[in-house]
C-alpha cells in the first residue's frame, strides 16, 4: 500500500501530528546538544563508518570467527537464512524445553521476523518487557519507531490501554502511577518466565561476546532469572574487536536519545553458570544487500533511530505509515530490498532534504540511496503510470526549446483566463491548500531578449 494516504490520515489529526512532530524534534534537539558536546564527533562518525565498511567487506570471515569464539565460550550458534528459519529455531529451542512463557527485550529483528504471532500460534506466551514495546503489544499494534516504539501514543492513550489490560484507574495519566503499574505487572512476568530472548546491539568477532543496550535494565532481568537465553541478531551487527565498542557506544545513545550512554550496556560472553545461551544469526535478505554496490552501506546501520527523529516526513506521518518494522529513511531503503512491489512508495515518501545523511552516526548516505531506489523502482516498472507518462511528456518538451517556449507562452496566457474551478479542483493536488503563482505575461527569456535589444539600440 501507498505511504501517502496513510500519511494523509495521520496529518488529518492535526493536533496529534503536531505533537508527534514536536516530541521527536525535542529528541533531535537533545541529540544535537549531545553531539556538540563531543568535539571529535565527526571523526567518530568517520571512524565508525570505516569500521563498518571494513567489517562488511569480510563479513563471512568475521562471522565464522564470531561463531568459533562464541562456541568456545559455551554458547550455541544457529544460522537462519530467513525469518521463517529464525522462528523455527526459536520455537524448537522453546518447545524442546517445554517453555510456555517467554520474556523478550526489545528486538527489532524479531519484529522483522514476526516472531510474536508465530510463537503465540504455537501456544507460547510472549511478553515484550520494554515499556514502550509492552504498551504497543497490549494495544495490539506494532512499534512505530525502533527506539521509541510507543512514541505515537500520548499518556492519555497509555492510561486507557493500562486501564483495559492492567486494571489501572480509568482516566489515569500520571506517568509515575502508570510506570509503577507496568513495573508490577512486568515483574510478575519476569518471575514466571521460563526463557528470555534479547536482541543484540553489537557482537564482537574477536571475543564471541555481544552487547545489549537498554535504558530499563529489562534485558538483564529477562535473561537472569530463567536458565535459557536466546539472542537473535542480524548478521550485520558485528564489529571486529572489543575496542571498537568505544566508538559505537559513544555514538549510539547520543544519536538515539541524546544520552551520553545507555543506562545499561550489558556484555554477554557465554552462558551463565548452569544456563544455556543460544545465538541465532539471521540473514533475511542482508546478503542480498551486501552484494549490492549501491545499497551495501545501509548495513552500517546501528539502529539508533536518529534518521527518524530528524526526518520531517517521518515526524509528520508517524511510523505506521511506513508499514514495515523499521520505518523512516533507513526503513525506506531496507524494505524495498526485501519486497520492491510492496514497498515501492517508501523511497518517494521523502523530500530529499538530506538531513538523515548528516545526522547518521555511521555516515550512511541515506538520501542518495533513496534516490537510487527511485531509479531502481522506475527501472523495475514500479513507478505510477501518471508519473511515468508525466516525466516522458516533460522530457519530450524540454528537449525541444521552441516547443518549450511555445508551451510556456500558451500556459501563461491561458491559465489566468481559466475560471477558478478549472484550476482548483480534485485533479490538482497542488491547489488543494496552495495558490499557484501569478503567471507573468512574458518569460525571463523574452524579457532578457528585449533588454539586450534595447541595450544594443542605445549603443548603436
Amino acid at each position: 500500500m501507498n505511504h501517502a494516504p496513510l500519511a494523509a490520515a495521520f496529518v488529518a489529526d492535526a493536533p496529534r501530528a503536531k505533537w508527534h512532530d514536536e516530541t521527536l524534534w525535542f529528541v533531535r534537539a537533545k541529540r544535537d546538544k549531545a553531539a556538540q558536546s563531543v568535539p571529535e564527533w565527526e571523526e567518530l562518525r568517520e571512524c565508525a563508518a570505516q569500521i563498518k565498511a571494513h567489517t562488511v567487506s569480510r563479513l563471512a570471515d568475521y562471522l565464522e570467527q564470531f561463531e568459533r569464539e562464541a562456541t568456545r565460550r559455551g554458547a550455541v550458534v544457529h544460522w537462519a537464512r530467513n525469518a521463517a528459519e529464525h522462528n523455527e529455531i526459536v520455537l524448537k529451542l522453546l518447545s524442546d524445553r517445554g517453555v510456555k512463557r517467554l520474556v523478550k527485550s526489545k528486538s527489532m529483528l524479531t519484529e522483522e521476523c514476526h516472531l510474536n504471532p508465530f510463537l503465540e500460534r504455537h501456544g507460547i506466551e510472549v511478553v515484550d518487557t520494554d515499556l514502550g514495546e509492552r504498551i504497543v503489544q497490549l494495544a495490539g499494534e506494532s512499534p512505530s519507531h525502533i527506539v521509541l516504539p510507543a512514541i505515537h501514543k500520548k499518556k492519555e492513550d497509555v492510561g486507557q490501554i493500562f486501564h483495559e489490560h492492567l486494571g489501572t484507574t480509568a482516566g489515569a495519566t500520571d506517568p509515575n502511577y502508570l510506570t509503577e503499574a507496568a513495573r508490577q505487572h512486568l515483574r510478575e512476568k519476569f518471575v514466571q518466565a521460563e526463557a528470555g530472548l534479547t536482541g543484540v546491539n553489537f557482537a564482537i568477532a574477536e571475543t564471541g561476546g555481544f552487547v545489549v543496550c537498554t535504558n530499563e535494565g529489562n534485558a538483564d532481568l529477562g535473561v537472569s532469572l530463567p536458565t535459557l537465553h536466546i539472542a537473535s541478531m542480524g548478521i550485520e551487527k558485528l564489529v571486529p574487536r572489543a575496542q571498537d565498542l568505544g566508538v559505537f557506544l559513544r555514538l549510539l545513545a547520543r544519536s538515539a536519545t541524546g544520552q551520553p550512554i545507555t543506562t545499561y550496556s550489558s556484555h554477554f560472553h557465554g552462558p551463565r553458570p548452569g544456563g544455556e545461551l543460544h545465538i541465532v544469526l539471521v540473514d533475511n535478505g542482508r546478503s542480498d544487500i551486501l552484494a549490492s554496490d549501491e545499497f551495501r552501506r545501509s548495513l552500517n546501520c546501528i539502529r539508533c533511530g536518529a534518521c527518524m527523529n530528524t526526518c520531517p516526513v517521518y515526524r509528520r506521518s508517524g511510523g505506521h505509515s511506513y508499514q514495515t518494522s523499521v520505518p523512516g529513511p533507513i526503513g525506506s531503503i531496507l524494505a524495498p530490498s526485501r519486497n520492491p512491489k510492496m514497498f515501492y512508495s517508501l523511497p518517494q515518501a521523502c523530500s530529499l532534504c538530506g538531513s538523515c545523511s548528516d545526522v547518521c552516526p555511521v555516515k550512511i548516505d541515506l538520501h542518495h540511496q533513496l534516490l537510487t531506489w527511485r531509479r531502481e523502482l522506475a527501472h523495475q516498472g514500479l513507478l505510477s503510470r501518471s508519473k511515468r507518462l508525466g516525466m516522458q511528456a516533460m522530457s519530450f518538451v524540454f528537449r525541444r526549446p521552441a516547443l518549450y517556449r511555445l508551451a510556456g507562452r500558451v500556459a501563461r496566457w491561458l491559465t489566468p483566463l481559466l475560471p477558478r474551478f478549472m484550476i482548483y479542483n480534485g485533479l490538482n493536488a497542488w491547489g488543494k491548500q496552495r495558490e499557484l503563482p501569478d503567471f507573468p505575461a512574458k518569460s525571463f527569456g523574452e524579457q532578457y531578449a528585449e533588454r539586450r535589444r534595447h541595450e544594443s539600440q542605445r549603443n548603436s
Binding site: S355, M394, Y404, R434, S443, F444
Partner: protein
C-alpha cells in the same frame, strides 16, 4: 571580462522572470559579462528525482553542450546547481568538458561570495528577514553549515544579507528544516508537504519575519502558495531580488 553563462531554471524562466532579471543585474554589477543561452530549458532534475533517468539523460547532454563554452555558469537556484554538480556524473562522467563544467557551475550566492568576492551591497532593505535554507544548497552544495554536523557555523547567503543596510535577520527555532516542496513530493505527498510548509511559515512568523527569502524559488513557490491561500502577513522574495535592490 569573464563571461557568465546564465542558467535560469525552467520554472524561474516561465513563472518568476523577476528573479532572473535580478540575477543579471547582480552579476553585471559584480563586473561580469552575462549571456543567456536562449536554447536552455530544464536541467532534468524532476525526471532524475522521480527515477526516470533515461528521460533526464538527454537534458544533461544538452546542458553540457549549451554551457561548456562559458567561463562560469551561474544559477539562482541551489537545487538545480546541485543537480549539475552532484548528480550529473551518472550521465556525463568521462565526457569532454564535464569535469570543468562541474567546477565552474555555481549557485548565485556562492558565486558572489567565493568567486566575485563581494564585500558590499549598496541597497537598503529595512525589514526583518527570515532566511529559509534550501536543502539542496545546504546539504549538497554546502552553502551553509547544517545543524546536524559538529562544525563551525557559516553561511554564504547570510553573509550577503548581512551586508544589506537596514536588513535584520531573524532567528528561527529550526534553522534548516525542509519546507516540504521536494519536487513531485509536493503533489504525491500533498498532506505532509503542506504541513511541512505551514510549520516552516509558522517558524518565520513567530520569529518576527516580515519577508521570507531563500536561494531557491521552488521552496518559495510552495510556501508562497500556502501564505497566499491563508492570507498570512509575510512577503516572499528570492534572495537575488533583495540583493539587487528590486521591488522594495
Amino acid at each position: 571580462m569573464p563571461t557568465v553563462g546564465l542558467f535560469i531554471p525552467c520554472y524561474v524562466d516561465q513563472l518568476f522572470p523577476q528573479v532572473g532579471l535580478a540575477t543579471v543585474d547582480l552579476l553585471e554589477q559584480a563586473g561580469y559579462g552575462v549571456e543567456y543561452p536562449a536554447d536552455q530549458t530544464c536541467c532534468g532534475q524532476p525526471m532524475a528525482n522521480t527515477g526516470c533517468t533515461e528521460q533526464a539523460r538527454p537534458l544533461a547532454e544538452r546542458f553540457l553542450a549549451i554551457f561548456s563554452g562559458y567561463d562560469y555558469v551561474v544559477a539562482p537556484s541551489g537545487s538545480c546547481v546541485a543537480m549539475v554538480r552532484c548528480h550529473y556524473d551518472e550521465y556525463l562522467a568521462g565526457q569532454p568538458g564535464f569535469e570543468e563544467l562541474k567546477k565552474k557551475t555555481f549557485e548565485l550566492c556562492e558565486f558572489l561570495v567565493d568567486v566575485a568576492d563581494t564585500s558590499r551591497v549598496d541597497h537598503r532593505f529595512p525589514y526583518r528577514v527570515g532566511l529559509h535554507q534550501s536543502c539542496h544548497g545546504l546539504r549538497e552544495l554546502r552553502l551553509a553549515s547544517s545543524s546536524e554536523l559538529v562544525a563551525p557555523a557559516f553561511g554564504k547567503a547570510q553573509r550577503l544579507l548581512q551586508m544589506v543596510d537596514g536588513l535584520e535577520l531573524v532567528t528561527l527555532a529550526r534553522p534548516d528544516e525542509c519546507c516540504g516542496f521536494g519536487g513531485t513530493f509536493a503533489v504525491a505527498e500533498e498532506a505532509v508537504s503542506c504541513m511541512m510548509g505551514n510549520d516552516r511559515i509558522h517558524d518565520h512568523l513567530t520569529a518576527g519575519a516580515e519577508v521570507l527569502t531563500a536561494n531557491d524559488m521552488s521552496c518559495l513557490m510552495h510556501m508562497a502558495g500556502l501564505i497566499r491561500r491563508q492570507g498570512k502577513p509575510l512577503r516572499v522574495m528570492h534572495i537575488a531580488e533583495i540583493l539587487a535592490g528590486h521591488s522594495k
